[in-house]
Symmetry: C2
Subunit: 220 residues, 2 copies
């Protein structure tokens, strides 16, 4: 009976060597800020977190490298080890496959460096919604290199403004940050017409936010 | 228009103080093994990871304390800083709400300390399946304190045997570990009859596994 139910897995893919190389690269990049132990933990835990939900394993090493690097940068920003020159905005939705990706991309485009933007999801999807990628391509934004990322503590810590969209109270709360919730209709981003509608709705909110942030920055 | 779509969130719950206390406790517990920085990262990231999927926020601090402590112990075991006296088994399913919880609880019961057991999920559910809790209560096992946990790198590293159940290739692969996949019918754990059936199926596999592990241990 057992042979029908149990398979001994062999010939499995071992990414340890490439992850160790990424850890080495990032340890050098963050010399004087983080210990090698911390960097290695970030790389391997980032890999496991992405592997749990990501559909495509072949890109996993490169998305891990980017995700871990950005998380380490966020952590360094939150401790003051790396300066925060511009306001940091974090968008959070459930899947990080539609709304939060659109908001981040649109704000990033309009801000032209005056704001730094991140996005994450409480339950990240396997990949971005194709209709969302198409709707932003129409607006001249390339999302082909983006991927859904789980919400982590470090990116919340680095944020000045956290904008949630339908992800309930899944986001950690820290004093001194501004938390807002955007109600963006129904997340009907499965077809292009729906994705366009939500894109335009988010576009208005993002434009308004950018106005606020840049006015506030000038006051200081 | 904006007032209908944007809410500035105020009066939100801030768990920083309790998480800092947990970090302090665990830093003392792991003195000489992990830096305070590492422990704090584990506590805060464990909190955020659980907050993303957990239904009940009121227990979050106590589940965070247990989850972070167990992850740190796993990491210390994997580096040899804490001895592994018995074989370490990790069960992984998708939601860590049914099959992997049953397997871990049953093996833990039968092993009586001869094996150490962990479980995790690739996409953890908000809570355990009530039918699973009921089916194991019938077998004299109390699952009321258990909670779904995301799969993390540290618990994989600490394992000698990793048993996956329907979670695809979401688990990191390391050399020197034994990977097996159990096919446990359909995860029909929504009702008590289904949960009992799967419990009994897992019971057989777990008993067999324990026999193997204890025979192998005696050989060494």
């Amino acid at each position: 009976m057992r042979e029908h139910r149990e398979t001994v897995l062999t010939g499995l893919r071992d990414d340890t060597a490439v992850l160790e190389r990424i850890s080495g690269d990032l340890t050098r990049k963050f010399t004087g800020i983080f210990a090698a132990e911390t960097v290695e933990r970030y790389v391997f835990e980032s890999y496991t977190a992405l592997a749990r939900t990501s559909r495509i394993r072949t890109h996993l090493a490169s998305t891990t490298a980017r995700f871990a690097a950005d998380r380490l940068k966020a952590l360094a920003q939150s401790t003051g080890a790396i300066a925060r020159d511009v306001p940091e905005v974090l968008f959070v939705c459930v899947h990080n496959a539609g709304r939060s990706q659109m908001a981040a991309a649109l704000l990033n485009k309009y801000a032209q460096g005056a704001v730094h933007v991140r996005s994450a999801g409480s339950a990240p999807a396997a990949e971005l919604e194709p209709a969302v990628v198409a709707a932003l391509a129409e607006a001249g934004i390339d999302l082909s290199q983006e991927f859904p990322k789980p919400l982590t503590d470090d990116v919340v810590r680095a944020a000045d403004v956290v904008i949630t969209m339908g992800c309930g109270d899944s986001c950690p709360i820290y004093p001194g940050k501004h938390y807002r919730d955007w109600t963006i209709g129904d997340p009907a981003v499965k077809d292009l017409a729906g994705a366009r509608e939500i894109r335009d709705e988010i576009d208005l909110l993002v434009t308004e936010l950018l106005g606020e942030l840049t006015t506030a920055s000038k006051k200081h």
